[in-house]
């Protein structure tokens, strides 16, 4: 970036046109600032609308999550919680961080590696009944690999439990 401006300025020093070099340089600087401002505005605008935050099931149950805005949850698919609608592609399951669990509904085809007792990350919104309406379900790509988000959620729950045991 800085070298870009440097080049700009150097080209601006060359006497050209009817403008004095000093004015010309000023013009370039103003142009550069406008350009940078436009880029920053573009990035901030894009960031504002498309960042998705990640929460653990415990945080969802404690209601620390945004309402009416999409976010991600991660953890493990609780064993025995997977239920498929009799006619259709809708599935119900619970995502747990081993401390708390959140019910999730998803309509569509699940990824290859989605299964009970395996790590999962889901993106979607929480509805008024406390059910997570997932629009996207991601599963890991290797049976030994757990998505960092899912691992972190389970790790946090584990630490919280240890802390509680110590308090007791």
């Amino acid at each position: 970036m800085s070298a870009g401006q440097e080049t700009l300025q150097k080209t601006a020093v060359t006497p050209a046109g009817g403008l004095k070099p000093r004015h010309k340089r000023l013009l370039w600087i103003i142009f550069g600032l406008v350009f940078i401002a436009a880029i920053v505005a573009l990035i901030l605008n894009a960031f504002g609308s498309s960042i998705t935050y990640f929460y653990s099931p415990t945080e969802v149950v404690q209601d620390k999550v945004p309402h009416g805005r999409a976010f991600r949850i991660g953890g493990m698919v609780e064993g025995g919680s997977l239920v498929r609608d009799a006619n259709g592609l809708t599935v119900h399951f619970r995502v747990t961080d081993t401390a708390k669990a959140v019910p999730v509904v998803y309509t569509g085809i699940l990824p290859d590696l989605f299964s009970e007792n395996k790590g999962v990350v889901a993106q979607g919104k929480l509805d008024e009944h406390g059910v997570f309406q997932a629009t996207q379900v991601l599963a890991k790509h290797d049976e030994n690999y757990v998505a960092p988000e899912a691992a972190a959620a389970m790790d946090a729950a584990h630490k919280a439990r240890v802390a509680e045991t110590v308090k007791e």
Partner: protein, 658 residues
């Protein structure tokens, strides 16, 4: 025995690279020619031993030598031969190995095709490459030895990740790495120019072909990766803005800027400082790409191998290479000088603006890719930055880039007159606007948003085509002779640019039409059911079981038809690999010039009627995306074969001798 030979060869290669990275550089600094001439021999020697080591590794995979940990964890006796060979670079160790092997290959190529270069320059270029190679080889030997043995020897290997058992995977990493590593040549040329203070048009002409060739490989590598994701992952997408994809896109964007900046440095002797900086950035981003993918910091398909120690090593290496070269740049760049001057309205300006736009685009991708990592590292929460971000910043940046691409190719060097440009380009502009606005309506779109997006895409593509046509007509206007003779007079570098720019247009058409007209349906199907999408009908006829070499598959049969006329059968599969126990979707695609019909199987539904969840797509013009990339690559290769490089090289030699 063979793995030990490989191991020794690696150590010898490392020692030779150390010599290559030190003595010639010192020789060039002190003017000791006996040290300088070492560079060629050591580079060739290092390559010989790297090739030997690579051969030993591939051999170990071919003969299923499971006493080698790398082989045991990534291969299997049931794995087909071609994938056993590909498995040599499928693992972390193997991929770093092929990285260094390619660095050896490129240095060897430089040592052979540099007869016309001054000895000092060769010494510096190969010296810098030797230093980089030493770093990577130490990384390989100290943290990720591909020849590590295990005892007791397992009877059977663990198999290669099923996702990687694919023809795309045989080609994708070597191509991509050829591109990444190829930019090390441009980097070495830039650093040696800073060291030696020689940076002129001749220098640019020397480094140009290398840069273009690396760019061609990178383009091809990204293309194969995208195509592979499209048919293998079963999601029908061709670009996900996944961090790993971004890691390869960033050097491509800056590399594209570098290629154009080098053209200006060669033709007009200007942009020198900028060119050097771009060369440093391109290679740095290539290294960063390797780091991002291989250190396991990303939540991604590619993070198979995770080991923080390796991450640390690469990070330090990255710091040394980037920090060192930027420091050198800061001290030496002012000595390089700026070169010729130009007016605001000129081809130089258009190229400079596009350089900036490409660099900024790369910066925004970098930000979107690294921001979540920083937040996570600072314990400020976990976030993900999705495709909407990248699309929202990328498209607005590419619009002016494509516009200037058209203007720049037509504008004159040094000083162009606006009225003249307007007179030459107004017809192109008129045709572009009229056709682009009419086309969405002709194709039956009426909603304002959809029409606007389609019109924008078509306008960008048409603008490239019409302005390139204008430039072409201008070029041949004053050439004597028949039309064929006029065509033959144009140099290959011109045709290269023409083809590459048309490639961008083809690519944009592909993206626009796919985005605007693709259709997707997730359905539950019982044998006998039909589903239609995009005017095509898919009839599910049932599944049969099939046994592959290292997997069991449920194979579905679908009949594809249009207007009740059967076109062909499609056989998607759901595979279960023995060693991994993980299911894999193998999509079936009916591919054509004007679009793909794509079907992939979800999972069986236990309703006693042998139903499956099925996903079908219609992807119009999706092949144009890849055709565009191939055209760009061909353009690069054409430009590379321009006789100017060969002729001028000979003239340079003549000058030096005289």
């Amino acid at each position: 025995m063979i793995p030990e030979i490989g191991q020794f060869a690696l150590i010898l290669a490392a020692l030779l690279m150390m010599v290559q990275g030190t003595l010639p550089l010192m020789g060039a600094a002190k003017g000791i020619s006996a040290w300088m001439v070492l560079s060629r021999r050591t580079a060739q020697g290092a390559f010989f031993f790297m090739a030997l080591a690579m051969g030993c590794l591939i051999y170990s995979f071919i003969v299923n030598d499971f006493s080698v940990l790398n082989v045991a964890s990534n291969s299997n006796t049931k794995l087909p031969l071609v994938y056993r060979i590909a498995a040599s670079w499928g693992s972390h160790e193997g991929s770093i190995m092929i990285w260094v092997f390619m660095l050896g290959l490129w240095s060897c190529a430089v040592s052979i095709f540099s007869k016309h270069l001054p000895e000092e320059m060769v010494a510096r270029v190969l010296g810098v490459m030797g230093l980089v190679g030493t770093g990577l080889l130490l990384f390989l030997l100290l943290t990720s030895n591909p020849f590590e043995r295990i005892f007791p020897v397992p009877a059977e290997g663990r198999d290669l990740n099923p996702l990687l058992q694919d023809p795309g995977m045989v080609l994708h990493p070597p191509m991509l790495y050829m591109g990444y590593v190829g930019f090390s040549v441009a980097f070495a040329f830039a650093v040696s120019a800073l060291l030696g203070g020689r940076l002129d048009a001749t220098w640019a002409r020397w480094s140009r072909p290398w840069t273009t060739l690396a760019w061609c490989f990178l383009t091809l590598g990204i293309l194969i990766g995208s195509w592979w994701a499209y048919y293998e992952l079963g999601w029908g997408g061709w670009w996900f803005w996944d961090p790993v994809e971004n890691a390869s896109l960033m050097p491509w964007l800056v590399g594209t800027a570098l290629m154009h900046s080098l053209a200006v440095t060669e033709k007009r002797g200007t942009f020198k400082v900028w060119t050097v900086l771009l060369a440093i950035c391109t290679f740095s981003l290539s290294l960063l790409g390797t780091f991002l993918v291989r250190s396991g910091v990303l939540t991604s398909v590619h993070a198979f191998a995770t080991d923080p120690r390796r991450g640390m090593f690469i990070l330090v290496l990255l710091g040394l290479v980037i920090g060192g070269s930027l420091l050198l740049f800061a001290f030496r760049a002012p000595k390089v000088g700026t070169g010729g001057t130009f007016k605001i309205v000129s081809r130089e300006s258009a190229l400079l603006a596009n350089n900036l736009l490409l660099t900024v685009a790369c910066g925004t991708v970098l930000l979107g890719t690294l921001y979540p990592l920083f937040l996570d590292a600072l314990k400020l929460g976990k976030i993900s930055v999705g495709p909407p971000y990248f699309e929202a910043v990328f498209v607005p940046l590419m619009v002016p880039t494509v516009f200037l691409m058209g203007v720049g190719a037509v504008a004159r060097w040094k000083e162009a007159a606006l009225p003249d440009l307007w007179a030459r380009l107004r017809w192109a502009l008129a045709v572009t606007l009229i056709v682009a606005i009419a086309l969405p309506f002709i194709l039956g779109r009426t909603s304002p948003m959809s029409v606007a997006l389609l019109a924008l895409g078509f306008a960008l593509a048409l603008w490239i085509i019409t302005s390139a046509a204008t430039g072409f007509l201008d070029r041949i206007k004053y050439v004597e002779g028949s039309f064929a003779a006029k065509l033959a007079r144009q140099p290959r570098s011109y045709w290269g640019m023409f083809a590459a720019h048309l490639g961008v247009a083809v690519f944009i058409i592909g993206v626009t039409v796919v985005k605007g007209f693709e259709a997707e349906r997730d359905v539950r199907m019982t044998p006998g059911d039909s589903v239609s999408v995009g005017g095509y009908s898919f009839r599910f006829e049932g599944t049969t079981d099939r046994e592959g070499p290292n997997y069991m598959a449920s194979r579905g049969t679908f009949e594809l038809s249009k207007d009740d006329k059967a076109i062909r059968k499609l056989y998607p599969e759901k595979r279960k690999y023995f060693q991994f126990g993980m299911p894999m979707t193998e999509a079936a695609i009916d591919s054509g010039v004007f679009g793909d019909r794509y079907v992939s199987m979800g999972e069986p539904i236990n309703d006693g009627k042998q139903s499956w969840s099925i996903r079908v797509y219609h992807k119009p013009f999706v092949t144009w995306i890849w055709a565009g990339c191939i055209l760009m690559t061909l353009g690069g290769l054409l430009a590379l074969s321009d006789r100017r490089y060969r002729v001028n090289m000979r003239r340079d030699v003549g000058l030096e001798k005289a």
